[in-house]
């Protein structure tokens, strides 16, 4: 399985961690960010989410983030998985797995990667509420 993917189906956090850990026995710390579908946004009740991406470019940007993370942080490996399509409340959306010899490097790389993902990856979230649907325009 590829370390960086965009897919419709759910992923297993444990399997993704194992995939990254399998890269090296020097890994001593793994930091994971898991983004999940929440049921509230700006006091509005969310029923479901729907993610759209720019096929090709979105995958390329995630690959770039992994390469830059490996270049700029003292980490051994990074995995990134983002789901698209319909996502129910509570389901997994995105996973970043950063692995390093020591925890501090993994924490820093993981935080940078999710911020960079939100900044440069052409993926869009639509929130479906009881009142209608709205494309989200900001990324807090």
């Amino acid at each position: 399985m590829e370390l960086v993917r965009i897919q419709k189906q759910d992923f297993s956090v444990t399997e993704e961690i194992e995939l990254v850990k399998a890269v090296s026995k020097s890994i001593g710390g793994v930091v994971v960010f898991l983004g999940t579908g929440r049921d509230i946004s700006k006091s509005e009740e969310i029923v479901r989410l729907d993610f759209e991406h720019y096929p090709g470019m979105a995958e390329k940007k995630l690959q770039e983030i992994r390469v830059r993370a490996l270049d700029n942080f003292n980490i051994i490996e990074m995995g990134i998985v983002h789901r698209i399509g319909k996502i129910e409340i509570g389901e997994n959306i995105v996973l970043i797995v950063a692995a390093a010899q020591h925890r501090n490097d993994a924490f820093m790389a993981c935080e940078w990667a999710i911020a960079e993902l939100k900044r440069i990856t052409p993926i869009w979230k639509k929130e479906i509420t009881k009142k209608g649907e709205v494309w989200v325009e900001e990324h807090p």
Binding site: Y54, I93, T121, E137
Partner: protein, 82 residues
């Protein structure tokens, strides 16, 4: 012929995912935006907003990017992944 792709709310505004447009050879991004505004008045306000990014052949365009025949141009509303 340039392929133009629309995503998220821009796709809803234009009513199409993708259109092909004949444009003059090697035009600047600014000139291309003027053509887009004329062809798709529904998205003029989005094009005037700085938050809309444009990609050419799946790389972010800058004000110096030139658009030529065969290019794939995409209009990218603010991202909200993650």
């Amino acid at each position: 012929m340039v392929k133009i792709r629309f995503f998220a709310m821009l796709k809803n505004k234009v009513g199409q995912e993708e259109v092909k447009l004949d444009v003059p050879e090697n035009i600047s991004l600014e000139k291309f935006k003027q053509i887009l505004k004329k062809e798709f008045p529904a998205i003029t306000e989005f094009l005037d907003k700085k938050s809309i990014m444009i990609s050419v052949n799946q790389e972010f365009a800058t004000k110096n990017t030139m658009i030529k025949d065969g290019d794939e141009v995409a209009l990218l509303p603010p991202f909200s992944g993650g």
